[in-house]
Symmetry: D2
Subunit: 332 residues, 4 copies
């Protein structure tokens, strides 16, 4: 349940305020030279200093404690660990009974019968995406594809040139926003994805929905273009390598990559923690009570999410790529 993948498999552990979080990365081919600069760059993209993101500093210092020898992967699983430091745990006692709207406080308590670590979102914290970003960057280093991710819409702001002003205003209102992220991957061969249940769309969507705050995933022309007719939607194939004139299908036919760019959009809900006063049930008083969330939070955590979504996509694609390779050597 905390593992993803068949040949390339990541196993994630950790809670926000426990000593450490980390990931075991199994199935990395031997001999890959790990590029730490690229890992650090991706971690920085997840943890920027932009307007609308929290000023709280996460150290993100990671250690690889196995699976790398003389700078190259050994074929054994990698273990990557990030210690949790600077966690202030005293603020969270109230959440045990006064459940924050939009958060998982209530469901975690019920599911784990009260034994969950409720501090800082515990198991459900967005902090868990840091080791995922590392695993995904390592996957990218094993793949001959190019990855792109960007914001498409933030709240009702679609002209991202005005994003800083827009977010400053939202922050002043004590509110938060979500939005839509676009992903684009180029260089896929024809044939990634296994029917019936491990289609590229199924496998990638599964891991995208594992990222906290993701509420929607679409490939190619999505919900917005649900009105198109077949004569408009069908992508005309124009050459022997399968290039299509349009790309409404987002690079996927029958659940399998068709050689055109993989195009994905992801809907991210607004940051749940807001400065504004909210109302929510309080078990201690058996009634709805006002709630004021303290601390400094992202106004738009979506600014930090594109690299997360890009990198979990690479995890799913490397897994499919290794499966694909198992069937490419035709001699017995």
């Amino acid at each position: 349940m905390n593992s993803f993948g068949t040949l390339f498999k990541v196993t994630l552990y950790g809670e926000s305020h426990q000593p450490a979080i980390g990931v075991v990365i199994d199935g990395v081919p031997p001999g890959i030279a790990i590029n730490h600069d690229k890992i650090k760059a991706d971690l920085y993209n997840r943890n920027p200093r932009d307007i609308g993101t929290t000023p709280r500093k996460e150290a993100d210092l990671y250690a690889i404690t196995s699976g790398v020898f003389n700078g190259k992967t050994t074929g054994s699983p990698l273990h990557v660990m990030i210690e949790n430091t600077n966690t202030k745990s005293k603020d969270y006692e109230a959440l045990k009974t006064h459940y924050r709207p939009g958060h998982s406080d209530f469901v975690a308590k019920k599911k784990y019968q009260g034994f969950h670590d409720y501090r800082g979102g515990g198991r459900f914290s967005g902090r868990l995406t840091a080791p995922l970003v590392i695993a995904g960057q390592i996957a990218k280093q094993c793949l001959p594809f190019t990855f792109h991710s960007k914001l498409k819409q933030v709240g009702d702001c679609r002209d991202l040139n005005h994003l800083d002003d827009y977010l400053t205003k939202k922050q002043e209102e004590g509110d938060s926003v979500g939005g839509v992220v676009s992903l684009r991957v180029e260089g896929l061969p024809v044939g990634l994805g296994e029917p019936m249940f491990e289609k590229l769309t199924s496998h990638v969507a599964k891991i995208l929905f594992s990222v906290p705050s993701v509420k929607g995933v679409e490939f190619g022309s999505g919900f917005e273009k649900a009105h198109l007719k077949g004569s408009e939607f069908n992508d005309t194939i124009i050459d022997e390598i399968g290039t299509t004139k349009t790309n409404h299908s987002g690079g996927v036919s029958g659940g399998v990559s068709n050689g055109n760019p993989l195009m994905i959009q992801v809907m991210v809900k607004p940051t749940s923690s807001i400065a504004k006063t909210q109302h929510t049930y309080d078990e201690q008083t058996s009634d709805v009570q006002t709630l004021n969330i303290k601390g400094r939070h992202d106004t738009a955590h979506i600014r930090r999410i594109p690299i997360v979504l890009e990198n979990v996509t690479s995890i799913a694609l490397l897994d499919l790529f290794l499966q694909y390779k198992a069937y490419q050597l035709n001699e017995k």
Copy 2:
């Protein structure tokens, strides 16, 4: 790759024009009385005679050849088989080299190195959803939940009272449409779904994207409401069982069911086969050639899809429900 699930597991086989298609259903609890009327009703919903659906008759006569004894499940896997009859295979020779837009002809040929069964869409045929519907109905019979599915939008028609007229017109144009389907499941306990990678959203999305033509999945208020602010989106919890005033989260918090109705929307692309002349690459001439697809096809196969989506959702939910139950008995 052709199996889905951990405790409740379905394994699907078959190709459109092979002797049979079917499904092995593993993990059904013993002692369930199989209700065949409900199975037939769901199969009928997948194979209606409405305007916009193909007049081609699929028999859908199924046999359960194992796992049921004296009308009740035995605890062993069920095997359900549907023989393929009335398949006309002669029409398909041209597809080997003249790839239909929107279909998987091209990717199947490349992926399977030309050995695939190309007749009638082969492995990629929508026909494979018939055994899935059966498996899903059996899952529903094991679950204390209620399931609803309906069309929300068909092409650019959102007032479904006018749907028959709308589709008659599209049919006359020789074109096709897709649209959006809504799902709603009630009765879920708090706690279905396993973080990190087997979240309810991840698991359900995975199987929804396995259904041919699905290109988008969203839970609760989706892409359309990506502009909402946190103060609007957050669902206020109003009582001790977790009821929320609104349901923007679609019944899922932190990837886990929160006790409110599960709300899903699914985007379905238009039927790929259309009567209109299209253009597409032809390997024999090494050039783009006109293509006219013969035969009678759905104008709006989306009319047949709601029950498919409803039932694959039940497959994923029974799997999560059994996992949930494994942790409910607290005495060792």
Copy 3:
């Protein structure tokens, strides 16, 4: 639970007296020409007319209903089905409460809360090995290895030239025997098997123990040679391809194939059904009662088992071989 394998996956269904038994075989590479003569030969080896085996005739007529087109595999899962005919079910009513020693009557009843199909051993019948033999033969057709299996010991008879006489005598006594089977596979490359938990030994042993009646598995020099010293047991490597002077390790080092022949011994318990009067608990009288099992049974079902063990081994090895191939193409 009724599926085995990661890339090459078999899913088995059926009960002895249900309409059919069968297997879905997923992960077969496309383009394999299915050799039916070899399948029939293996089925015949499982169902011989030798002394000590039951004269009851099993038809073993199989149909492949998907995954093969023009005589070659398509890359989609194969479904192989054998109909159950000539099953006499009336003899089994007593077993519901008067549990046969050595059989699974008692555990099946408890595990499945009385809903199991108790006729002919139901899910636990050796009959289920017929589709496994087919799946295994297909696996052999995908592998460049050579497989050998033979009886090593039957009851206390180790000189198999006298086996027919020996078994005639046991049959006259109304008793049964088990014994030991030897397997040998040649042609494995160095490197099959994945540490830590998918070692060649782990993976092969798992499927060998799935075969009814198997109670012991050993690789190379087993229990009998547990007294050897390191200086005797260690196999001296004599050349650059890893050939060893002795083969105490049975072709496996660190759980991974080392290029020498894979050597396995399997211990098979005696046939549980015997003609002699036995004693066992009867739920109806709440006491131990005499039991006389009717019908004609194998005196030495072990004569039928070598081909089963050989073929399930090939299933496990093809799965590991495909995993191995996924890492052999080094260019990204």
Copy 4:
């Protein structure tokens, strides 16, 4: 491949001379109070100071960095880490080309194309069993069963009262021994184990064979009793809870626990590293050369293995126990 289990899942990482080894333990029920004294006792049993075991000190100091809050499990995965200290790596350079008999030096080099960490056995080191012991003890703390393990035979010494003298002699000879370990588990309910491929025997054997040096596994009366007749081997059931007069089946019928004690024997090969001069192929000279292994090694590492085998068995049993529980609540 480095994960084991369906509901209770362990993922193991680490190499002998890398910074750390560890295990992620997923599926632990919430609310279990972790007993560290029991963990330490089991680690001590794996790392004793008895005659025949290496005087090299392994610290075995472990840290649990997630999944435990206020001394109890949270329902999230536990991560347990042991740092590797005091590793002397300089001794191992020669192994890159001069392969030790009985070790995995040769296969690791070929499998991982020379990129493996060859120091101290790397991924194949027995050191990896330390985190497995911890995971297994935690599994025992979740189970209502009692576990016993003991040596049955060490080399050709079957009277273990003389074991110290026997091993002192072997040590003086510069040789090593293996032997046989017995396991016994009591308290299992009827019904653990899932036919067909996740039988109790299959699942337990799989993890037992994952332990380095294990070459044979048998349940109940094994190879030694392969000569028994059915009338001798069949266990007479004597009461309504399934108690049998004898236990030749080792507590398992049809692959499922039958309520009687689970009895297992495991064959362990001799320690591969011996002080005596050996011969083996040397890639640098392209010829067989003498080899003298330096350092101090176990004469009988089998003295350290019973607790390892006992604890990996508990890992497999907890996994089956959780699966069993998923089907015990009959109300929907």
